[in-house]
Symmetry: C2
Amino acid sequence: MGQPPTTLRDIAKSLGTSIGTVHRALHDNPGVSPETKSRVLQMARTLGYRPNLAARYLSSRKTLRISVNTPQGTTSFWDEVRGGIREEADSILLENVEIQFRTGSLVGEGEEEALESAITDKVDGIIIFPSRPQSLRPWIRRASRAHIPVVCVATDASNSGRLGIVAVDTLASGSIAADLMGRFIGPLKKSVAITVFDMAITEHAEKYSAFESTMARFYPNLQVLKPVEDHDVEKEAYRKCRKLFAEHEDLGGIYITTEASVPVLQAASDAGILDHLTIITTDLFPDLVSYIRSGAVVATIYQRPRAQGQMALRMLHEFLAEGGGRRSNQVALAPHLVMRGNLEFFLRRQSQESAKDKERPVRNASHALAEEFG
Amino acid sequence: MGQPPTTLRDIAKSLGTSIGTVHRALHDNPGVSPETKSRVLQMARTLGYRPNLAARYLSSRKTLRISVNTPQGTTSFWDEVRGGIREEADSILLENVEIQFRTGSLVGEGEEEALESAITDKVDGIIIFPSRPQSLRPWIRRASRAHIPVVCVATDASNSGRLGIVAVDTLASGSIAADLMGRFIGPLKKSVAITVFDMAITEHAEKYSAFESTMARFYPNLQVLKPVEDHDVEKEAYRKCRKLFAEHEDLGGIYITTEASVPVLQAASDAGILDHLTIITTDLFPDLVSYIRSGAVVATIYQRPRAQGQMALRMLHEFLAEGGGRRSNQVALAPHLVMRGNLEFFLRRQSQESAKDKERPVRNASHALAEEFG
DNA sequence: CCAAGTTCCGTTAACGTTTACGGTTCCGGT
DNA sequence: ACCGGAACCGTAAACGTTAACGGAACTTGG
């Protein structure tokens, strides 16, 4: 039920050459003539050669160095992403992964420098949050040319040569938010709002579009206003929302897709409409808990940062280990829905996981780099 | 930044003995005196020895044989569980896992025989759905005594010596169902119903309890009736629900936790109250789709069978590979919520995944056993 | 025509573990 | 005293890959 897998020796023998030559050919190392090389490649293909990773690791003993370039952020989102990455790194059987965290203190600040540092440091792979895809794109492209695979988390940098992307499905997020809000508000004729980081970011535009189209399709009584862009700046969010609330007296609900949800809630509270609004937020962090408990926030769309981190590292490691990777490089996670009812479940889980993060042994010598970026 | 890991040779040298003795001691193989054994174990501990899995696998080329004992089922649920297991098996770097499917044709039929077969076949690990925990418990205990780890999926067989359990969190499922239903129905005074497989099964009792307590806490206007037990028998479900609908004219909604949701929907339709009921179902399969699209089913709690399969195999493999396993053996997944809005996302994903299952190469020689159980 | 490269290729020693085999002791029975 | 056999232990060959070394053939410059 499956003959023994073909080895380098098999290829060498059936070609009348040596194991060293085969190895050089398969890794296009210098020292092998073009014709032998093609013969080796051909034979490897027909014999269905697949490298034995155990032997490779045992022999070369080199550890994969992976740089994780993410911002500190204003919530625990990125802490959880990093926790997921570390957890996944620990569970890799071959203990050959070393994670280097290049954590920037502010979103968008120092991203390019950190990425450059990773490239010049010749890491084997990079996980990055490209908060400004357009400015990062040339750097990612440069990494790809240096044969350093780059995996994006949370936001895509399309057309940059990046290896893959792990993010929450924007369509699923926006649509369920709309569907829930529509059901909650009921058949009244109202307007509903949405806040986004910036419509220039594909993901945010997609979320808006999904929200809007689902609303139009199932709840024509609700009219979606044009999005509020807050750039995760708390003051901006507060100011724009106060204005919005003042201008639209018929506002029935608001879907907050950004991290800066507390300022929006504060604005609603200050405007005296917190209890009249159906509010759906994004992600789950301590400041939100009391709003959910009290019912002011009816639901929050949890983007599963830990799962995003895990999948990103898995994708990268699989690519590096196999030298190619055969799976899809586009992971779209389904978001979780958190409400009053199941809130405790998620809180318990979060605290368990962050406890595990802290007690984690330093097996993989993953340590924050001395330098801080941003 | 981390000295080289200690090897068998290190232990042997610092003890003035040989590598073979150390190996025998660590695996309590015969041929080593009790005192040397304890000295070796002691030294291994102080040096912090951890076996090099790559070397182990390379040397002893033995493949792990894992038996997957699940029913065929009446929906695609178990197909997806099996798909997740195979997918995870394929993504294991060391390609040393062979999956044996012992699929029973009916739930609960032939489970014991299948488990016995796996044990006498001396597989290295077992993944099982214990539909009737009490009757399976002695068999699981027997497997444990034979040092065969057993992982339960979907339902726990507690106190049986099983290695671990992967299931959807019952509290999160029941609570979110209650919370949603409460919001959807609104402030009217109504009664709500729930169908379960059998209250004797812990998970189902827990789901009911979570549903009931969340409802009582947040929506005191809604009274939860005592559960309908249908044992996944379609006729039973239909009959009992018709009776329920006739007896409770003030019924506002029903939460169907079992696979037999279509008969319940049919009963509601035949009773002419399909449109007046807030219906929440469980899982996602073709027969449900049209009900969700039409809005008759407002939401369904998706138990992520694929993820359950993946996690179960991961847990088992980690245990087998490490010879111990250091992670928690209790995985409680958060269910996904599927509504009209995000339905298409899940359908697309399901079809992608089942397509991948079909085109899967037979790398791991995972084949259905000739014998069929049940 | 020889020294000095260059280009290609074969050989071999690792990597850490498992496993089979051989070699000591030491003991009880003839 | 000798043999048989435990009981304990050391040795060495695998497993498949990598990487360093060395050698052969062939080119070049003096």
